[in-house]
């Protein structure tokens, strides 16, 4: 078989995988009766055989991501800083615990991949005590890392087995310090990918490192203007089968008290997807106070949510866009609020871009801006139908 001189890029998602070469991207629905490696080989074996191992580049979000429990002493500094670093390191599932409430907290039942403990600038009086040790006895975790004040370091080190100690994420000016924790979490994520049997097998077709998809997407953002006519501040919405990621210009953040090295942050809606997380998406939609008005506006009723048709998928994807915008608006008190009133561009990517038309997306964004923000104009909407963002990110990471 003749060798092709170009690159072959593969993205393994939870519902689809896609293969890109020579500027063209094809998407395949995953066959869940076989493992990822066999599925990729069965569908694309011929094209893969045309490339050398070092010309094949793979990223994956199919490992489900790492689960994280963050324990901090304040919501707006230690917990917020650690959460920001975790999201930007590709972590998907994040629970938080305010230390002052540890006595009444119920430990999570599932196994946590990594517990992060943070709190205080370097020189403060002790912030953690035996209550933390008692609580941790009830938590099943694989890794634990301390990124808090200097005073508690020895106490925690001598009382918690396998505790990894990194530099404090809060510096002495109360600013975020992200490098060490970010590197630690990114490596943990990489090890998790490699450790997963299904992903491990993919190394038989590539000699390059397999990165996480969110990391790849985030790396493309500073150069997004080379692809599309976008204006800062912008928001990238990546709706997939299991989760929805957003990447946003940090200028959009309300009450911004974090100054990071990157101008773009990431946030994950872990139960907002149109296939694997369909049930929780429907549940979330039904609990939104505007959903019936929205369905009426789209000229359907709630029965559509139970159907298995293309129309139903279209409506679900529109609902997902609405819910994402709603949850980051000032109407919601979740992790972050964005100034959607100054948003200039929305870029839609992921599986949703293959299904929704420009009109479908315009319509839902228009409803949101009119109903929630009382605006008559909406940001420019760009649909990344050919997954150019992902391709650009792959090129940035594996710089050619």
């Amino acid at each position: 078989m003749s060798q092709n001189s170009n690159r072959l890029e593969i993205d393994i998602g939870s519902t689809y995988f896609k293969i890109g070469t020579n500027g063209k991207t094809n998407q395949y629905f995953r066959d869940f009766t076989t493992n990822i490696y066999n599925d990729v080989k069965n569908k694309c074996g011929e094209i893969i055989s045309k490339y050398k191992k070092n010309d094949i580049f793979i990223c994956s979000s199919a490992n489900g991501g790492l689960s994280t429990l963050i324990i901090g002493i304040s919501s707006l500094f230690s917990i917020k800083y650690a959460t920001n670093i975790a999201f930007n390191s590709g972590i998907n599932i994040i629970d938080t615990l305010l230390y002052s409430k540890i006595d009444e907290a119920i430990p999570p039942k599932e196994i946590i991949d990594v517990v992060i403990i943070a709190g205080g600038i370097e020189r403060v009086k002790s912030k953690f005590d035996n209550r933390l040790l008692e609580y941790l006895k009830e938590v099943k975790y694989s890794n634990i890392v301390y990124v808090g004040n200097g005073t508690d370091r020895e106490f925690l080190k001598s009382n918690i087995d396998n505790l990894v100690i990194l530099e404090n994420i809060i510096d002495n000016r109360l600013q975020i310090r992200e490098d060490e924790l970010k590197e630690y979490l990114t490596n943990l994520y990489q090890n998790d990918i490699v450790g997963k049997e299904e992903i491990k097998k993919l190394y038989s077709i590539t000699s390059n490192q397999i990165y996480s998809t969110p990391y790849i997407v985030n790396r493309s953002l500073p150069k997004l203007r080379s692809l599309y006519d976008v204006a800062d501040p912008f928001l990238v919405i990546d709706i997939g089968g299991a989760t929805t990621d957003i990447h946003y210009s940090t200028d959009l953040v309300v009450n911004k008290n974090i100054l990071t090295s990157s101008s773009y942050d990431r946030l994950v809606f872990k139960k907002l997807g149109v296939y694997k997380s369909r049930e929780s998406l429907v549940f979330g939609a039904k609990n939104n106070e505007f959903v019936y008005e929205l369905l009426d506006y789209l000229m359907v009723n709630e029965n559509i949510l139970e159907e298995d048709t293309l129309k139903a998928t279209t409506i679900l994807m529109q609902l997902a866009i609405f819910l994402v915008l709603y949850q980051v608006s000032k109407n919601s008190n979740d992790y972050i609020s964005l100034k959607l009133d100054i948003l200039n561009s929305i870029v839609v990517t992921g599986g949703v871009s293959k299904v929704l038309s420009q009109d479908d997306i315009d319509k839902i964004v228009r409803f949101f801006y009119k109903k929630i923000l009382h605006f008559d104009t909406i940001p420019a909407i760009i649909i990344d139908r050919e997954y150019k963002i992902w391709t650009l990110g792959m090129k940035e990471v594996h710089s050619v």
């Binding site: 304040s74 919501s75 707006l76 500094f77 230690s78 205080g120 600038i121 009450n255 008290n257």
Partner: protein, 134 residues
Amino acid sequence: MRVVTGVVGNDIHVVANRLIEISLKERGFEVFNLGVNTYLEEFIDAVIETDANVLLISSLNGEAEGWSRDLLFLKSRFDLDGVLFVIGGNLSVGEAKEEEIIPKYKAYGYDLVFHQVDLNVGLDIIEDTLKGKR
């Protein structure tokens, strides 16, 4: 001694904020300046993260009254014994009598209240109060 300071609410009086920071540093305080447009919750959280001895909130446009009403509630959620809570600036919208304003803000949970008081006079009182507390 550590001080957390900043301007509360939708108030962008950054010059006054910088003057307060400089004056505090001149007097030897370690200052954590949260800047303008700061929420009350952020002030409290900053005190917790830094073990600050003083929280010095300023307000120039009179908005502080609306923003201060949750102070007692927020203080009740954490162990903040020993922290000196101070507010200063122009503490009312329009004309108001000092003898009405000071009790009102003290009822909100502030230990010291300076309405239209010279900065250095206020800082002298803070230092004297801290000496008394030690």
